[in-house]
């Protein structure tokens, strides 16, 4: 009885992702000795403004995983309505269930203990393709996305170019 359930579960997922990689991202650990901190490289989804970009993200899992969700942060600079200016990702499936103070999200859209690195990344990749401007984390990006799309496109293109230089 050495490792907690969360560590075993994450180790299992890491092994599975190494064996059968999923299209759209690659996953590993930031530090090989810490199973709770992952580094993921998201490939900008084709046919979106982010196409061609390589976005590095960190996932930080709590010890109570899978009962509680991880936190996700883009390390590479990115301009998107649902990612705040510090890189923190704001999507409903990473929010804990419970009383929703603001009434924005249904319980079914929030965190569930069946989510894995793979299902989280699939949601984030689909969020890149399809921003949700109802609850923006980056209000300026959301406003631009709605009102001055060409400026929004320009900023995203700049991030994509920058991400290619960093890789």
């Amino acid at each position: 009885m050495s490792e907690p359930q969360s560590a075993l579960l994450l180790r299992k997922q890491l092994a599975e992702l190494n064996k059968n990689p999923v299209e759209g991202f690659s996953a590993g650990l930031i530090d090989d000795n810490d199973i709770y901190r992952w580094e993921v490289l998201i490939i900008g989804p084709p046919d979106t403004l982010y196409e061609g970009g390589f976005f590095k993200c960190h996932l930080h899992f709590p010890k109570e995983y899978p009962l509680r969700p991880p936190k996700m942060k883009f390390v590479t600079e990115i301009w998107h309505p649902n990612i705040d200016k510090n890189g923190d990702v704001c999507i409903s499936i990473l929010h804990e269930p419970g009383d929703d103070k603001f009434g924005y999200e249904k319980a079914s859209e929030r965190w569930l203990p069946v989510h894995t690195v793979e299902t989280i990344l699939i949601s984030v990749i689909s969020m890149l393709a399809d921003p949700n401007d109802e609850s923006p984390a980056n209000v300026d990006a959301a406003k631009e996305w709605r009102e001055s799309y060409s400026e929004f496109k320009r900023k995203v293109a700049r991030c994509v170019r920058k991400s290619q230089e960093e890789c």
């Binding site: 804990e96 079914s108 569930l112 069946v114």
Partner: protein, 148 residues
Amino acid sequence: MGNCFKRATTDDLSLLRGSDSIRETFSNQLGSSPYQEALTVQSISPVYNPSPSVTSLVTQLTEEEQVKIAKRIGLIQHLPTGTYDGSKKARECVICMAEFIVGDAVRYLPCMHTYHMRCIDDWLMRSLTCPSCMEPVDAALLTSYETN
């Protein structure tokens, strides 16, 4: 739908004490073992989540939170349990991603999804929804009462 209510029901007030499965989960419960040393009881006080992101020792809970948790434990107790015998369709507990082994304690939700008792009870204490189909467990349980 079949019911296997094996346990006698208890009244609301005694639920925090009377929950077998939750007691197993948290290994230590108020007055659960007369032989336990008082010191151990104090140092491994059970931990609850009055809301999903808040973790409190049982001694730190407000009265309102205690009632809420007691009701929740009572509700979970009404969900049928069993032992995995290898005959069911479900092969894996999707919470811990481990295969069921014959003899594992499992719990059946009203939507017929099956999990390790340990895994699902911890989750239900935070949110009363089935992790697979997101059906609200409390509403489904009430419906199953009405139809029986």
